[in-house]
């Protein structure tokens, strides 16, 4: 295996992980906030449904995606009309990664928002902040640690996604073969040293992401330390 292959695979993995987080971030933020602030009947069921991608075998998830978006799936005609080709493209890999990372992100956001005292939000509203402004300038900044941590979890989980990706995107070198898939195909070829190189690349990616996130958290001290009591 050549270096250029390994670098291309790492870049593809980053792209898939980045797009996955970008896809999951806003919905998870909204859902997390909603769940943190509302109590209603059937909430447990909603939470369970959100957690499903985390609990199901990823392969099952991949099959589900393929049945929904594949050539004979109910969503295929719609996507086709829009000119979107999803199965067996890197977008499918990103969608799979987004889906498996989503529950981690929602959970983290929900917990982070739940820890923000509603008093602060009420105070901001009484001072004339609109709802979105309150969310963006009070709630979100106070919850940033949890949100950032959830983003990191979802991103790294997406980087390592294997089962769902293999089913819905296939293992196509140069097109959908992310590091996790690449490691697997090297193992199947008996190319252990190639597999190890890709393992190292995965390790480097995860370490870089974690270090960056930790650095961010460190520069901005814990909100409780400065929050008025």
């Amino acid at each position: 295996m050549s270096w250029s292959e390994a670098i291309a695979m790492t870049a593809l993995t980053l792209r898939v992980g980045g797009v996955a987080v970008a896809l999951a971030f806003l919905p998870a933020l909204g859902l997390g906030h909603w769940l943190a602030r509302r109590e209603f009947r059937g909430k447990a069921l909603v939470e369970a449904v959100i957690a499903l991608p985390m609990l199901l075998p990823p392969v099952a998830l991949g099959l589900g995606l393929l049945l929904l978006f594949g050539r004979r799936g109910p969503f295929f005609p719609l996507l086709h009309a829009l000119g979107v080709e999803l199965p067996f493209t890197w977008w499918a890999a990103a969608l799979a990664a987004a889906l498996v990372g989503f529950p981690f992100l929602v959970r983290a956001c929900e917990q982070a928002f739940a820890e923000v005292e509603p008093r602060f939000e009420q105070l901001a509203r009484s001072l004339g902040y609109t709802r979105p402004a309150t969310f963006l300038r009070v709630t979100l900044p106070l919850a940033r640690r949890g949100v950032l941590y959830g983003t990191l979890l979802a991103f790294t989980r997406g980087l390592g996604e294997f089962g769902a990706t293999a089913v819905v995107a296939g293992i196509q070198p140069g097109r959908t073969e992310t590091l996790a898939l690449g490691i697997w195909s090297r193992i199947e070829l008996g190319d252990d040293s190639g597999a190890l190189v890709l393992c190292l690349a995965s390790f480097a990616l995860a370490l870089a992401a974690t270090t960056l996130a930790e650095g961010w958290l460190r520069r901005a001290p814990h909100p409780k330390a400065k929050a008025p009591s």
Partner: protein, 272 residues
Amino acid sequence: MQCVTKPGRTLCALAMSVAVLVCVSGGTARGADAVLDIWAAASLREPITQLARRFEAQAPGRKVNLVFGASSALARQIQAGAPADVFLSADDVSMDHLQASGFVRSETRRVFASNQLVVLAARELTVPLAVPNDLLRPEVRRIALAGPEVPAGRYAREWLASRGLAEAVKARSVVLDDARATLASVDSGNAEAGIVYLTDARVAKTARIAFVVPEAEQPYIVYVGAVMVGGDQPELADDFLRVLVSQEGLAALHAAGFLPPPAKTASSPSAP
């Protein structure tokens, strides 16, 4: 409020950097205009890679994407919408499945090679493995086979059944995804023996050929290729298939240890 606006900006920066990252890495994707997607049986890796690289060199901007795997798995993925232009299968069965569901340009279907089964022994195996019944020795604890729907696995099981060894071997078999994964498990010593193609055995690192399945017992092994209906490069795909059955293609296959197409298939459609 000052203490909270800065982290808000930090989050904003995070989102921005993700967006930038996506754009940058997305921009480096591919610029080639004519990309031919060839999906081929795992056992064809070396000769097809070689032919594809030469095919690329024939025209500027031409690019060939290669996907190798079990023919049965590749066929299923093509049925599910995978973007293959050419499918090269290690048996009729996988191609027939695709053809029956309308994915094959049947006039392009060609038989292009054959192969032989061999029994592999891991370096660690010290007892002799010279005849089929040696597979039942207690020292041969694990026998690597490709899955029953995978051509390599189906051929191996056909042969084992013809020798009356199917059940006994099944009890100690390790099932792998494709021919190359089967080879790898014997090569790594994790299985003491395995049944693969002769051509796989030629690229083995440590495993050795214990014996070649005798001529008379060889199953009917046939490699067949065709242009796929869903592909976006039908002309290029057809060109590649022509190269494959030309002198150049047959020479590359021969050099890798493949046999010419079996005589039984003389009636199948030949190159127009």
